[in-house]
Symmetry: C2
Amino acid sequence: MESWPPGGSGPAEAGRRPRGLRGADLAASASLLSGAGAEAGCSAPAVAAVLPAGGSGERMGVPTPKQFCPILERPLISYTLQALERVSWIKDIVVAVTGENMEAMKCIIQRYQHKGISLVESGVTRHRSIFNGLKALAEDQPNCRLSKPEVVIIHDAVRPFVEEDVLLKVVTAAKEHGCSDYDLEFGTECLHLALKYCHIKAKLIEGSPDLWKVTYKRDLYAAESIIKERISQQICVVMDTKEDEEHVGHRLEEMLKNELNHVKVTSGRDIQQIILEQCYNFVCVNVMTSDFEETQKLLNMLEESNLSILYPVVVISVQFLDYESVPFGQKMENLMQIREFAKEVKKRNILLYGLLVYYPQDEQKLQESLRQGATIIAALIKERNSGLVGQLLVA
Amino acid sequence: MESWPPGGSGPAEAGRRPRGLRGADLAASASLLSGAGAEAGCSAPAVAAVLPAGGSGERMGVPTPKQFCPILERPLISYTLQALERVSWIKDIVVAVTGENMEAMKCIIQRYQHKGISLVESGVTRHRSIFNGLKALAEDQPNCRLSKPEVVIIHDAVRPFVEEDVLLKVVTAAKEHGCSDYDLEFGTECLHLALKYCHIKAKLIEGSPDLWKVTYKRDLYAAESIIKERISQQICVVMDTKEDEEHVGHRLEEMLKNELNHVKVTSGRDIQQIILEQCYNFVCVNVMTSDFEETQKLLNMLEESNLSILYPVVVISVQFLDYESVPFGQKMENLMQIREFAKEVKKRNILLYGLLVYYPQDEQKLQESLRQGATIIAALIKERNSGLVGQLLVA
């Protein structure tokens, strides 16, 4: 995994803090980078990003600096890195963190398998941190894998929801206007400095409402809800039978579609493909079988796919209860082994729940239990509550 | 219930929109109210509040105006009214809503039992709405129960977390500085108007970070999480036995205290008193009995108390399973009647869940099941998921 330069030569070891530079040098220094990528014969990436992440998060009212606060158990900065990594034309990302947090940051990069990230030590101010990041990009050392970029995006580590289109606007404007440093906050000091000290005109790019900054504790709550909502937009229904289109499994699927009309409900014909499409919710419907064999197959596929590295994946194993064949108590007892499965897969960030749906002869009652089943499935997917894994719910 | 003036004479029927007034008249008009409460022999309340709530919530990206968006199924504006009602020295609250939303607003006032609220029709701008509210307070009609206040607080309907201390600062400053209209937003148009047109000096009062405005959809998420957190700060444990301090119920209580160290865990000696203190979480531990009699008593008390009018109350009925006496399946079957209770009390905003805790002889295993029980209780209280009511969870 290429996560940060190993050994002592890369910017990860950047105790080499620039001496005696004023904040104003930041923008000037950044401007030196401009045009570097346009040199003839240079295969360097056109765009890089610098993330100042040395803040202490005082306003948050929590002891952890906000960029390291967990959302669904993953630190906020990892979401921001993910957002930037998704943009294919950002070749290098330099993160400036305090020496104190350097090791923790390395662990984050490794655990969440971030690629193309370099670390530098942050400065005492945000501008110093940015400067250190720019310096790492500007240095053309033999052992350094970083290359001089044409444009450098300065992006806050605590703005996790940045979209490619906004970044593209920034880069396009940077190229057109010759600016060297962009920041999307109105009235930011960076903009002020660029206007004051550079012989170039800074341009303000309108951000989207998504581009907000996690500042207070309430913003962490909001971020968590937004992330939960985003990964709950698709549900894959996996059946243990494919023949009978009329059976109760398909009826449950239809009910899910009706109840969750904003959610895409996919039939799991090709689960590998659906995993590749990053669906984080699976409903494994067992009609023909009354064990966890099908669920186990699905869990194996999920484990192999590494899908759950970034987000918790919800798997709901559904069984039906026909009172006439097996008594409720016995059925429950048989299914309690789900607790052990759940405990095991929880370690790999897969949240497994069981759902037992009554299957009465009476059509109206069946309709009702299917509806309740859909409600429970929706609730489990929406909340992604890790405290309830292994539970067997009854509809 | 005194919720809005009945009949056609009160400001609820305020189709009487002021003619030809400019925005600037607002502050001037407001200044007329200043000192009204100080008149000799006047028993009028000293302070009133006007809530402009006629906005359409365009930025929210949802069809419902943001002040009517539900949080835990209750409209946002009801939380704001609750925050103002709690302040004993605010005698009158005037809400300005569009004619279209007048009936909905009346329903909200009735359903959540808000007191001392008057309704006026909002204007086409925020200032017009405020003006209409002030006008209702200034009018000294015989049929109008409103009295001229000394100070009027203008408060956004979408700032639900306003605290008494901030309001008190505003009122104190208003009295000292003679200002008639205060708004806590820096650079607000109200402040601008007051400075421009009034011969008084407006004073800016520093708000708290809690005083934020629900503007975007993410703010609704944040508000919901904050409210959930606030009502989860206290758990009352009710036991069906009081003698043996060593028994498993007390051990579960101790485990809860350890696991949830930020939460106040109260023993339910005097449940009526605890209900009065507005505790919204109850764990009913059944050690001596294996039915729902104790839970039913608690539910009856909660229903009589009306505690659940404003927030959903969580009740978790805990049973223990001693494998040697009753088989698991049979125990589960016996306890399934909780589903019916839960369905019934859900109608009154009480969220009932069941929890079956294994009671093995092995001390280490018992410790483990108690810990898991505490985790499940914490998860249920934190999420307050209405989709899972009536479920029987197993620790």
